[in-house]
Symmetry: C2
Subunit: 253 residues, 2 copies
């Protein structure tokens, strides 16, 4: 992860090895197959184990390999395309939404979230926790921040807490007329609670999608969703189906 002065840095050994390994994965291995152990692989390719490990890390970053404790290193299936930018005009929790509502709390959000919501840094907001499962696999964990001013009728309904309360917040939110949605994607590392939900270790690379829901000229809700970076490819657009990977996920168009 170092940087600068690239002119004087030759292409690292593991980089060439990665290319060779990648070709071997294509031609000799099938999805789910367990790779030989590191000692055997290092011997076969005539490299030091440290070099081999760096190449394996790269291939894991690219979603080609999965490493699991007690199982070893296996050839990963193609990444799953997960639509993020479709249904531009839908509130969270609308019909057809494949998120599951988990829980709800009232708490002071992180300072950056409070600033985006313009609620003031000490002001508690509703925090709805949701999770997304695609093809039986957990792919994302979300915190949805909803200021009290976006759901003014909520207290009158009086559902106590938990998932039922969360659904009540979403129902109230859907009463507002949604103007537009804006998404941003960036690299992050999984927080401890998200990591547990996504079956990853804390600190694993994740794709963080921030969505701002605009209604009545202001930010009515803000979603921060953490996607598994190893298994997901996030798609944006009308059909949400960009598939350039080979294998069972590929669709003829």
């Amino acid at each position: 992860m170092g940087t600068t002065q690239l002119e004087t840095v030759p292409e690292p050994k593991y980089w060439h090895l990665k290319t060779v390994l990648s070709e071997a994965l294509d031609s000799e291995f099938s999805v789910g197959e367990i790779l030989p152990n590191e000692r055997d692989l290092a011997a076969r390719f005539g490299v030091a184990r440290a070099t081999l490990r760096q190449a394996l890390e790269q291939l894991e970053l690219e979603g080609r390999l999965q490493r699991r404790r007690g199982v070893g290193t296996t050839v990963a299936p193609p990444r799953v395309g997960v639509a993020v930018g479709t249904e531009q005009q839908a509130w969270p929790g609308s019909a057809g939404d494949d998120w599951q509502t988990v829980d709800c709390a009232v708490a002071v959000p992180p300072a950056a979230v409070a600033d985006a919501l313009e609620t003031g840094r000490e002001q508690p907001v509703h925090i709805v926790r949701r999770s997304r499962v695609t093809h039986g696999q957990p792919v994302a964990a979300e915190l949805l921040y909803v200021p009290e001013t976006s759901v003014p009728e909520l207290s009158a309904i009086g559902t106590p807490s938990g998932a039922a309360r969360a659904r009540a917040v979403l129902r109230e939110l859907q009463r507002l007329e949604l103007d537009s949605r804006e998404n941003a994607v960036e690299l992050g590392s999984a927080r401890a609670d998200d990591a547990k939900e996504l079956d990853r270790l804390p600190g694993a690379p994740v794709l963080v999608v921030t969505t701002r829901y605009l209604a009545g000229g202001r930010t009515a809700a803000l979603s921060v969703a953490t996607y598994r970076a190893d298994t997901c490819r996030l798609t944006f657009g009308d059909s949400g189906a960009v598939e350039i990977h080979e294998g069972p996920e590929r669709q003829a168009s």
Copy 2:
């Protein structure tokens, strides 16, 4: 990057340290400031240097720190929002596009690209190389694959090669009526040539944006753009301005 059996794995030490360090960055350091060396930091927080290094890696992944050879570790400026999904109806190279056309070649694309373009695996295509600079910083390197059938008049124009040829390919492409654009984002590692252009080392984490340009019911061109994951936040949506970070980049709405 390990996984599974999270129930039995306690929160790692570096994770707690990361949180503490992050708070220290907020309260004690300003953007661009150089952090104390690893020995001093490890002593201050009472941790082993290996633990400290893991926490620093996490903070680098999250874009909070930058590590540079010969400089040390500095506090990173907020990530730059780079619009990716705006101007849904525009071809690459249209007016207002902030990409620079670098070069052009005719070559057989990777198999997955050929499949997406439905050109056949041995069929050469035009490969236009472009780069994107935002706020004076290189943020992305792109390979745009254009089948010969999308630019049938091109050979008659006869520009020899290089950037002029690349611009001719883009001009011809713009004659087609664009139906829609689809984007996908996934985690990747920088290829050697992209890394050099982006001032990163090969293998650095990057965000790979694949864009399919649809015209006349087929894929008329396919773009694979590699964005720096350390400095960029990719934005999608009409205004393309989701800013939840504090600091000079933040915009009042």
